[in-house]
């Protein structure tokens, strides 16, 4: 009778040990993974602290991070992705960030020498128009017929001046 009881207790003990082991392993597995909310705030902090990541935002779902927003160039896009990939608890990264289009090239302004020559050609047929060029700015004085104004302005606008200061008296 005692023997039977002993073996029953032993089996019970064994069963508890197995259950405990399963509990322990699963608890460890859970603690190994980082909660989405914690990961979210860690990434948000990282973005705030990293100037290259300005303009990027992240959304976390089951350890998968989706990046969106705008990066200034491809290098920045890759940097952002790799930075997030390297963070603890990130399973994978979906990089949906876009690269901003390059800013337009600055406007080319013609040199004064070229402008002076161009202005002389353009005003040749308008005897009462006087034009001066200074630092890219064409200043028009004198007189012109209204019907000639558009022709003159069209010519001058092709010369790549900085601006045209039209002080002409229009007859």
């Amino acid at each position: 009778m005692k023997k039977t009881m002993d073996s029953f207790l032993k089996r019970l003990q064994k069963a508890f040990a197995t259950l405990f082991a399963i509990f322990l392993v699963s608890a460890m597995m859970i603690s190994c993974g980082v909660k989405d909310s914690d990961l979210q705030s860690a990434i948000d902090q990282k973005i705030q602290a990293t100037p290259e990541m300005t303009g990027v935002s992240a959304a976390v779902q089951d350890g998968v991070v989706t990046l969106s927003g705008e990066c200034k160039d491809d290098a920045c896009k890759l940097f952002t992705e790799n930075t997030v990939k390297g963070m603890k608890g990130v399973k994978s990264v979906v990089n949906n960030t876009t690269v901003a289009p390059p800013p337009p090239a600055p406007v080319t302004i013609a040199a004064d020498d070229a402008l002076v020559k161009g202005v002389a050609d353009a005003t040749k047929d308008f005897k009462d128009v006087k034009a001066t060029v200074n630092d890219g700015v064409i200043t028009l004085t004198g007189e012109i017929k209204r019907s000639d104004l558009k022709t003159l302005m069209q010519s001058l606008n092709t010369l790549k001046p900085k601006k045209i200061d039209n002080q002409l008296v229009i007859k």
Binding site: L149, S155, N166, I170
Partner: protein
């Protein structure tokens, strides 16, 4: 951005009428609009809108460099002077000697485009030289 608002109608018309290589840039309080109009009529229309927004082009806040696209060497162009002959010159500039004349409304052949102001042409008599493009029309 304020200037783009002021000239919005102009920019919108340029976009909708198919102006190619359209660039709209603002720099030091001047708006620069560059592009290639599909026809001389569209270019004229844009200039008329410009004149409506800024009567007599007084404000000095826009430089609009719109050329007419698709005029290739070999094209026939009409001399669009008011009434006088158009000087054909040895080189691109009014300081260059006159080598021929093209009459008002005469057709000439484009040989090459030197720059936005001067094109090399040949007239009906076979005289070749440079003329001021402002006086050529399609």
């Amino acid at each position: 951005m304020a200037l783009q608002e002021k000239y919005k109608q102009l920019i919108d018309t340029a976009t909708s009428s198919g102006v190619g290589n359209l660039q709209v840039r603002e720099q030091d309080n001047v708006l620069y609009i560059d592009g290639e109009a599909p026809s001389g009529a569209i270019k004229d229309q844009l200039w008329d809108i410009y004149n409506t927004i800024d009567p007599d082009y007084r404000a000095g806040d826009l430089v609009m460099n719109i050329n007419v696209a698709g005029i290739a060497p070999g094209s026939q162009l009409k001399v669009a002077t008011k009434s006088s002959n158009l000087n054909i010159r040895k080189g691109p500039g009014t300081d260059q000697p006159i080598v021929g004349k093209a009459g008002h409304d005469e057709m000439v052949t484009l040989l090459s485009k030197t720059n936005d102001q001067w094109w090399l042409i040949r007239n009906a008599k076979g005289e070749e030289g440079y003329v001021y493009t402002q006086y050529l029309a399609q």
